[in-house]
């Protein structure tokens, strides 16, 4: 089974802090994604990566950056946390290459509260 592990289940940070959310997958997947999930808005894509050191903006990248130095690890960075970034953050991965129609496999999420 694919395992996607997010380093923290709950985080509480103060406005203006720099926040790092870490995600590791153990199935050698090329593709990794960061989503945020808010009630009534569903899952919204922040950033994704199709390869090491490669990143693409999703639908709501403002206020976020990412890092992918190793294939198995994809980090989401909140440069200066704000209260409107309080949310559930979900990391996901999927195989690359010709497997374009493969499902995403999700981690258990990080619930971030910014006060």
């Amino acid at each position: 089974d694919v395992k996607v592990t997010q380093s923290s289940r709950y985080l509480v940070k103060r406005t203006g802090e720099k926040v790092f959310l870490e995600c590791v997958q153990d199935m050698d997947h090329e593709n990794m994604f960061w989503y945020r999930q808010d009630p009534g808005l569903g899952l919204r894509l922040i950033y994704f990566s199709y390869d090491v050191k490669m990143k693409e903006k999703g639908d709501i990248p403002e206020g976020y950056s990412v890092s992918r130095e190793k294939k198995e690890r994809f980090s989401l960075i909140l440069e200066s946390a704000s209260t409107n970034q309080t949310s559930m953050y979900l990391c996901a991965s999927s195989p690359g290459g010709g497997s374009y129609n493969s499902p995403l496999h999700f981690g258990n999420g990080t619930r971030l509260t910014v006060t």
């Binding site: 996607v4 994604f33 009534g40 808005l41 569903g42 899952l43 894509l45 693409e56 979900l90 996901a92 374009y100 129609n101 493969s102 499902p103 995403l104 496999h105 999700f106 981690g107 258990n108 999420g109 619930r111």
Partner: protein, 112 residues
């Protein structure tokens, strides 16, 4: 605009009362449709992939079907442990890349 709409938003069933959840989509270049189950405070858990109209997949009390415009998740004789939010997603070609587009889910509550 590519869009996925799920209905109803919430559904309460008695144990054993079968029903269906709907996922309608308007996308170009559909590559696959996916169903997930999400328990409170957890990440979505993958259930099924459907690739083409007419396809059906089954797992225990769940059966997913696909037409050219919508998918149904049929729940037969549900149990309280089936209570969860069920998410539908499609993968489509958009803006020069493949994107996953999610619905906002159906919250299912099964009463004992």
């Amino acid at each position: 605009e590519d869009q996925v709409t799920q209905s109803p938003e919430a559904l309460r069933l008695q144990e054993g009362e079968s029903s269906s959840l709907n996922c309608s989509y308007t996308v170009s270049g559909l590559r696959g449709l996916f169903w997930y189950r999400q328990d409170p405070g957890k990440g979505p858990e993958f259930l099924f992939t459907l690739y083409s109209a007419g396809e059906e997949k089954e797992k225990e009390r769940l059966k997913a079907t696909l037409t050219k415009k919508e998918s149904f998740l049929h729940i037969t004789a549900p149990k309280p442990e089936d209570s969860a939010t069920y998410l539908c997603a499609v993968q489509a070609w958009a803006s020069g890349t493949y994107k996953y587009i999610f619905g906002t889910g159906t919250r299912l509550k099964v009463l004992a």
